[in-house]
Symmetry: C2
Subunit: 245 residues, 2 copies
């Protein structure tokens, strides 16, 4: 495998860093190629702006997605974006590893998506979901949270985990064409004992070892939708209750 | 009303800017007080880091939320955070206005949440949902998207709008204690004609005029959950199908 881990945590002595190191150890032991985008260490700029483009197709009014496409075609994207896009194209497996902040990715990782998921190679012109630019690749969310697992049950305090992660797993990863593997979650890391944390590390190592054998979550292919962008009636009837895998 | 609009768009000649201006006109006509945090114009830094704290309770290892609390108590938060927190405490109505990027807020706005929703005054120590620090205040999402409305139906291409917005409306706003008003969405702004865009502006003006009379979405109060953080059985039985308002 060629694995890209995009990682967002500020603290070298964090549990997230221990998770990252464990993944790197496992992947090295398995003989896989790995690149890491350690966003905090890189000082990654998460703010999508006109400074991202050395050329402009529409100089009068910034239309970010259209300039992404134009500047990708003209190889005039800012160097940090181009470098991250190269890693994304290179990988066959993407892992987004982050602490869950406000039920989403930290801003520095949202900016990585905003700026590197480029109109053209990643999506656009009809390319999305099973026709997305990243089709044939796999992706996985690996996250930690202060919340207990029961809080993320469908009847839990903050709502179902698949709903919380829907914008990431469906809206970013599946939309771009990735096959999305079930997420890895280390629950309540702030409050558990050392043995439980060790269990999380072992569990994560097992998930990493099984990456290429793990069955992806189900997302509907484009063909399941009609011209009104809603599920075709026969598909909808056959998949009630399966919408979120 | 005292209205804080947090706004994230790079382009002065954008439709989002026109929406912002229309809201400002309406609020001025209504005699309301308004502050705007124009994140791009401010050059707002969205990256939560140790540089946010002038003091450290735990110098050896950054625990961001605990340092938020400590530095808030000691009035040693970085000035940009303290200034935004002052606006947040000042307002009785918060509007998050942004283009929907990857089914979430732009990174610069995620960073505003990460850094300004401070452990202590906003949440923590048992304060969340109806006991959250922002209780008594109202909040609303105002967003634009390239997606068509049918794509955001429950059986639509990208999934139900309330699921897409769940991390923002439930995980950020309701969690902090806000009463969350139904979102305003300008659909498919990239592809509609001028009359439709004008209709969106008029519709937004109407929403702004009706802010204080709009019925909030339903989120369960803390008391509806048991000690296992799941809905108490009698509450769950009574609210089937109402979970998302």
């Amino acid at each position: 495998m060629k694995v890209l881990i995009v990682y967002a945590h500020q603290e070298e002595r964090s549990f997230n860093r221990a998770l990252l190191q464990r993944a790197l150890d496992e992947l090295a032991a398995g003989g896989h190629e790995v690149q890491v985008s350690d966003l905090y260490a890189m000082g990654f700029d998460p703010v999508a702006s006109e400074a991202d483009f050395f050329e402009r197709r529409f100089p009068d009014r910034l239309q970010y997605d259209r300039e992404q496409k134009h500047n990708h075609q003209h190889q005039s994207l800012r160097a940090d974006i181009a470098g991250e896009l190269d890693k994304l194209i290179w990988c066959d497996t993407l892992i987004l590893q982050f602490p869950l902040w406000w039920f989403s990715v930290p801003a520095i990782m949202k900016g990585w998506i905003d700026r590197v998921f480029i109109n053209g190679p990643v999506y656009g012109g009809g390319k999305r979901y099973d026709t997305g630019g990243m089709r044939g690749r796999r992706a996985m969310v690996a996250t930690s949270t202060a919340a207990y697992d029961t809080m993320c049950a469908p009847d839990g305090l903050v709502g179902a985990l698949d709903v919380i992660l829907w914008p990431i797993q469906n809206g970013m990863l599946a939309y771009a064409g990735f096959q999305v593997l079930p997420p890895f979650v280390a629950w309540s890391v702030n409050f558990v004992d050392e043995a439980t944390r060790q269990g999380y590390l072992d569990g994560y190592a097992e998930r990493i070892r099984g990456l290429d054998a793990t069955r992806p979550l189900f997302f509907h292919p484009l063909n399941d939708f009609g011209t009104d962008w809603r599920l075709k009636p026969d598909i909808a009837a056959a998949t009630v209750g399966q919408r979120r895998a």
